[in-house]
């Protein structure tokens, strides 16, 4: 990077992972740009104080030629809140709820996690029972207070009881509070003043019906407030030290981002932002496309679904065992990662090969890392099979030992054949010498590992899509993470996917997602009404109120660009247990003003019917349609990614034997160059990039675009033949 970088306003995305902190700078002046313009940087993470790694990485990135005055925004994704919750390192919290409902957390939904498990236990309550206090204050479903407001004397008694619990934070969640936000917040404010502690009102965080879920959300928010406040404060100080006075955004679980001030006020909205980053990046880079993101890392592979380029959100995500009722980008684990252990499973009548769920971890890592690991991982199978070149792994910065991979895999073959019925993976020709025998044994294990891993991932992928009424065939894989490009085509062959994109910044794709995540805020209000002409005025009023709320919020975000306000409702046929979110109205933030949003009953019912037909396979024109929850979201995109046009080329750098389906094949090896090489590469081939190795099997052709993205397409003849 000798030449000076072009003068831009820059938007910097930062993703703090367990091992590495990734940074990506992209042009941030609102114009369209190519992924090739992105500058990526990686530094080791600093778990004791993640903001330290952020400062180091940012300083190094700036030193590569970005004038600090040109930094328009820094957008930061963090899993600090998530990790704190999962590891139980959270503030000591107390809960105030309405009289008679102290056991709301104990009872939860009285549901067992598994059928055939006598030891299954429901989620441990998020705070112990003795930290839950009752107050004689509640509201009807219409939001009317039952009885008078909490008197000063009762408040004093409550405060005394709270002080006995000695909490660091307090959450208030009253019966009916979702319909009486102001009243619940008033009580929270009085408690905050009396206790001098952060007090979170559940109705302020997310005013939706569902007492267990809403209470849990408020407690999670309260529990991570001190930690997140401290972290964000430290982050601001470190940025100031570097001279960065740009706007700071924090990415959120819904695939968007919010100002750091917003994140501090409601930290729970950040907890699942990490995995959402890759899905957001795909949404911004390839709008309008049906995609499945495949993030294949060390311990597992995660997928996200984008229908028509929009991430599929869910309101039934969990953090640990706790429900998260706010809309978040749906990300599902589907199976093995590169570090998943390849092992023999002898629990049944015949030994079978399994890949995962255990992982060799970063230390010692796969056997090929030569760090003392003897258990083979899926990565060892790639190395043994010639898919990964031990000398060029990660751009040659990290030489691997193929012989150790082979030995480790061969030991699994021994385990599979040991005294049980003979298994075919252990077949070997008579008279093979010892090393040849080991190599042959390892061949069989690696072959089986690829098939078993692909079949397991495919099974989960199919069920995730089937739950949305979708099948894989029409989707494009967007494969990233260390092993995403390596395994994507094998998985695609298993499920019938015919198109794969391996993005330019596959190794820092989540940071890219942070850099380009739109500013976004969701709000919701429970309405519970029929959708008909005579309820339209009331519904429109709620819409206007919610629109005003998100626009008011947007004004605090220091965003200049115009965005979109989307109003939607969760609709269902009367008596139906599940709802569908249907758009009511959508308009530019520039068009909002004196006119209230226009909601049309007919058009809404039509959209509901269309969606219902697609998702559920039927329509009932006679049935009453009910609106349960009205939602508003404001989204402001911060510049567009220019779709890459075909332009990148390949140069052949070598050739080697690979085997990924039980047959050894002579494959060509290629690197990407901007100009002057071949326009496409036909499989069997391997494309080696600095951060990942991409397998192009027989029947697939790879091309590249000027954004540095790799496109794999399955040849038609091959699928039919």
């Amino acid at each position: 990077m000798a030449s000076p970088l072009p003068r831009h306003r820059w938007r910097i995305g930062i993703d703090v992972g367990g091992t590495f902190t990734d940074l990506v700078a992209v042009p941030g002046d609102g114009t369209s740009w190519s992924l090739a313009d992105a500058i990526t940087h990686k530094v080791p993470s600093t778990p004791h104080d993640p903001s330290e790694g952020v400062e180091t990485g940012l300083a190094q990135l700036l030193a590569r030629g970005i004038d600090v005055a040109d930094v328009a925004a820094v957008s930061h994704g963090t899993t600090i809140g998530l990790n704190a919750i999962l590891q139980g390192r959270v503030a000591r919290a107390a809960l105030v709820t309405s009289h008679g409902h102290r056991d709301v957390l104990q009872i939860a939904r009285a549901r067992m996690p598994r059928s055939f498990d006598l030891h299954a236990t429901p989620a441990r309550p998020i705070v112990p029972r003795e930290h839950v206090l009752e107050v004689e204050h509640r509201f009807t479903a219409g939001g009317d207070a039952v009885g008078p407001e909490v008197a000063d004397a009762e408040l004093a008694r409550l405060v005394a009881r709270l002080e006995a619990v000695a909490p660091e934070v307090v959450a208030v969640s009253l019966v009916g509070g979702y319909a009486a936000r102001d009243a619940e917040q008033r009580l929270a404010a009085r408690l905050e003043a009396a206790l001098d502690l952060p007090v979170t009102s559940a109705a302020a965080v997310w005013p939706e019906a569902g007492e267990y879920e809403r209470t849990t959300l408020a407690l999670l928010d309260a529990q991570i407030t001190p930690l997140m406040t401290a972290y964000f404060t430290a982050l601001r100080e470190r940025l100031a030290r570097l001279g960065v006075d740009a706007r700071v955004y924090i990415t959120t679980s819904n695939g968007g981002s919010v100002s750091i001030g917003s994140a501090m006020r409601r930290p729970v909205q950040t907890v699942l932002s990490g995995p959402a980053g890759g899905v957001s990046a795909a949404a911004t880079a390839w709008p309008g496309t049906d995609m499945v993101t495949l993030d294949m890392g060390g311990t597992s592979s995660d997928i996200g679904v984008l229908r028509g380029g929009r991430p599929v959100l869910t309101t039934t995500a969990t953090v640990g065992q706790h429900p998260l009722m706010t809309p978040v980008v749906e990300v599902s684990a589907i199976g093995a990662g590169g570090g998943s252990v390849v092992r023999g499973d002898r629990s049944g009548a015949r030994p079978v090969l399994r890949v995962g769920p255990a992982s060799v971890g970063a230390v010692p890592g796969p056997a090929a890392y030569d760090a003392g690991g003897t258990e083979p991982a899926l990565t060892d199978a790639y190395v043994h099979a010639g898919v990964i070149d031990p000398h060029t792994f990660l751009g040659g910065t990290f030489p691997l030992r193929a012989d150790l991979a082979t030995q480790a895999l061969a030991r699994v073959a021994d385990d599979l054949e040991h005294d049980g019925p003979r298994t075919e993976v252990a077949d070997r020709p008579d008279g093979a010498d010892r090393a040849g025998g080991a190599a042959h044994q390892a061949d069989g294990v690696a072959d089986a590992a690829f098939r078993v891993a692909s079949a397991g991932m495919a099974a989960r992928l199919r069920t995730v899509l089937a739950a949305h009424g979708e099948v894989p065939e029409q989707y494009t894989f967007v494969a990233f993470g260390g092993a995403g490009g390596t395994h994507a085509a094998l998985l695609a062959d298993e499920v019938g996917v015919g198109r794969i994109v391996v993005p330019a910044a596959a190794g820092t794709f989540c940071a890219l997602g942070a850099a380009i995540a739109p500013v976004r805020r969701d709000v919701a209000r429970t309405v519970r009404t029929t959708l008909a002409d005579d309820t339209l005025d009331a519904l429109t009023a709620v819409c206007a109120e919610l629109e005003a709320e998100v626009l008011g919020w947007l004004r605090t975000q220091e965003v200049d660009a115009t965005g979109t306000v989307t109003l939607s409702a969760d609709l269902r046929y009367a008596g139906q247990p599940t709802t569908l979110e249907v758009v009511l109205a959508e308009r530019s933030t520039g068009d909002t003003g004196s006119e209230p949003p226009r909601v049309a009953v007919d058009a809404t019912l039509r959209r509901f019917a269309e969606q219902h037909e697609r998702v559920h396979g039927f329509v009932d024109h006679a049935a009453t349609v009910r609106a349960e929850t009205v939602r508003a979201s404001v989204t402001v995109r911060l510049g567009d990614v220019r779709p890459g046009s075909v332009g990148g080329t390949f140069v052949k750098t070598g050739a080697r034997d690979v085997r990924y389906d039980g047959t050894p094949r002579a494959a060509t090896v290629h690197a990407l160059v901007p100009h002057g090489g071949e326009a496409s590469v036909a499989g069997p081939a391997v494309v080696e990039k600095a951060d990942t190795t991409v397998l192009v099997p027989v029947g697939w052709t790879a091309t590249s675009d000027d954004g540095g993205n790799l496109h794999l397409v399955r040849d038609r003849a091959e699928t039919e033949g």
């Binding site: 030891h119 019906a209 072959d447 099974a459 008596g575």
Partner: protein, 484 residues
């Protein structure tokens, strides 16, 4: 000859296929039983009539050990099944015990590779109503199967891809909810189509014998794992008995007795000594064979000790069963079966009571034993709201099985948020407390485990005391008053 890897991979694909069948069914149905209570399931069987793959996470788990053979034999007495046929049945007696009460409608589709029959797809749904004396067809007071609604012997509902109109007409005429039923039946057909495609992919890859090979392999694997798990139980013979309070007609308690013999990873359940069948809907039709629905506690023990065990018919290979004809667990003639789950739930408790002696660290004590659906109905019958299944708590156990307010009697059901129930019923939910801890004598480690905690744990028998704390104020949701 298929390799182990091929069979294993095919098993994984079939597992995805049966879950996809379930999701197809759920998507296409709109009845509460399917969507909310998840009272349905789908699976794939090979020619043995036993399941090769069964869904792990969706639908009813307890039917994993069903055998389709008797129902298929009954349906094919006058000729073999052809491609595109679908057999329907709901009658416990005429289906050879495939169905366990009339609202459970079972569908079987033969799957072919060309002209060669290779296996079957199966689906069942608890439909809303099949006629009979009462709405929803289920009442403990029904005194014979004829009071419980339309009996459908195994017959062709679909012939060569076309629904038989006469059958559909009879079904429609005998239900209070014909449209909902038709939707559920067609949802099953959609699921069976999904299964047909996936099994077709399997036989395309592995040949017509592929499903049988995979089936044998899958069942042997699971049977071996089940046997390994059950070897945790000490060999011996254990006896336990418990009672249903009464049969709803008289005050006489109904005795359920089990003598469980554990022998090297197999368990034989002998129900001899259990009371005779009754003139109430508490009977279970087993034909004296080990029936999947009666032995679910054994599946639960296996699943507890080996959580990853694949569910398929192989789990039945370690289970033996005896029940004399004419008793509650082997009803004959025309005895009513609508509320058979109350009886099998008690079987679960007596099996636990017997086997806790063989493995006290594995099995918890008996649970509250039942689920009470809380229903608010207007006096004039104009409005009925099923609010929620009110559950009792779990039984006490060791530290690992600490009791909770949730239930194992019906692990997949869940409570309803207060607000919707308040909104749809003219009634306020004023309190939902757990009852204080009541560790029964003899709960031993369990009682100690929960009481040694400095906290007041949720309790061994804990219920959502909605009924005692709520006042019913007809006509005015604002007028609800707390009962003190």
């Amino acid at each position: 000859m298929l390799t182990t890897v091929e069979k294993d991979v095919a098993q994984t694909r079939l597992q995805a296929a049966v879950e996809e069948m379930c999701l197809t069914l759920r998507r296409a149905s709109r009845s509460l039983y399917v969507r909310d209570a998840a009272d349905f399931a789908c699976a794939v069987a090979d020619l043995s009539g036993r399941f090769v793959a069964y869904p792990q996470d969706v639908g009813v788990s307890g039917f994993v050990g069903l055998d389709l053979t008797p129902a298929i034999e009954a349906a094919t007495a006058d000729g073999p099944l052809a491609p595109g046929d679908v057999v329907l049945t709901n009658d416990p007696y005429l289906s050879g015990g495939l169905s366990t009460h009339l609202p459970d409608v079972h569908a079987i589709a033969p799957y072919f590779d060309g002209d060669e029959l290779v296996g079957y797809g199966w689906a069942f749904v608890h439909v809303s109503d099949v006629g009979g004396r009462v709405p929803s067809s289920v009442s403990v007071l029904n005194d014979s199967v004829f009071a419980e609604g339309l009996r459908v012997p195994p017959l062709r509902y679909v012939r060569a891809g076309t629904v038989v109109p006469e059958v559909e007409a009879i079904l429609a005429a005998n239900s209070r909810t014909p449209e909902a039923n038709r939707g559920d039946l067609h949802a099953m057909l959609a699921a069976l189509d999904t299964g047909r495609r996936r099994v077709g992919e399997l036989t395309d890859a592995l040949g017509p014998a592929g499903l049988a090979d995979v089936g044998r392999f899958a069942r042997e694997q699971s049977a071996a794992r089940a046997r390994t798990a059950l070897r945790t139980l000490a060999d011996g013979t254990y006896r336990f008995e418990d009672f249903l309070d009464n049969d709803g007609v008289s005050d006489v308690p109904l005795r359920v007795v089990v003598t469980a013999t554990v022998d090297d990873g197999t368990v034989h359940l002998d129900l001899t000594g259990t009371d005779p069948q009754v003139e109430a809907a508490l009977n279970m039709v087993t034909f004296g064979r080990a029936h999947s629905w009666v032995v679910t506690r054994l599946f639960a023990i296996v699943g507890t000790l080996d959580p990853a065990v694949p569910l398929n018919g192989g789990l039945m290979d370690v289970i033996g069963f005896t029940a004399p004809a004419g008793t509650l667990l082997n009803a004959t003639g025309t005895a009513a079966t609508g509320v058979r789950h109350a009886t099998t739930s008690r079987v679960n408790d007596v099996v636990s009571g017997a086997l806790v002696q063989a493995a006290p660290e594995v099995l918890p004590a008996a649970s509250s034993g039942l689920v009470v659906p809380v229903v608010f109905a207007a006096a004039d019958g104009s409005r009925v709201d099923v609010v929620e299944p009110m559950v009792g708590g779990t039984g006490a156990g060791t530290a690992r099985t600490a009791p909770t307010a949730a239930t194992r009697a019906s692990p997949t059901c869940r409570t309803t948020p207060w607000r919707p129930s308040r909104r749809t019923s003219p009634c306020a939910c004023c309190a939902t407390p757990c009852a204080p801890t009541r560790a029964a004598p003899g709960a031993g480690a369990a009682g100690a485990a929960s009481s040694s905690s400095s906290r007041r744990s949720p309790t061994a028998r804990c219920s959502r005391a909605a009924s005692s704390a709520c006042a019913f104020a007809p006509g005015d949701s604002r007028a609800a008053r707390r009962v003190r």
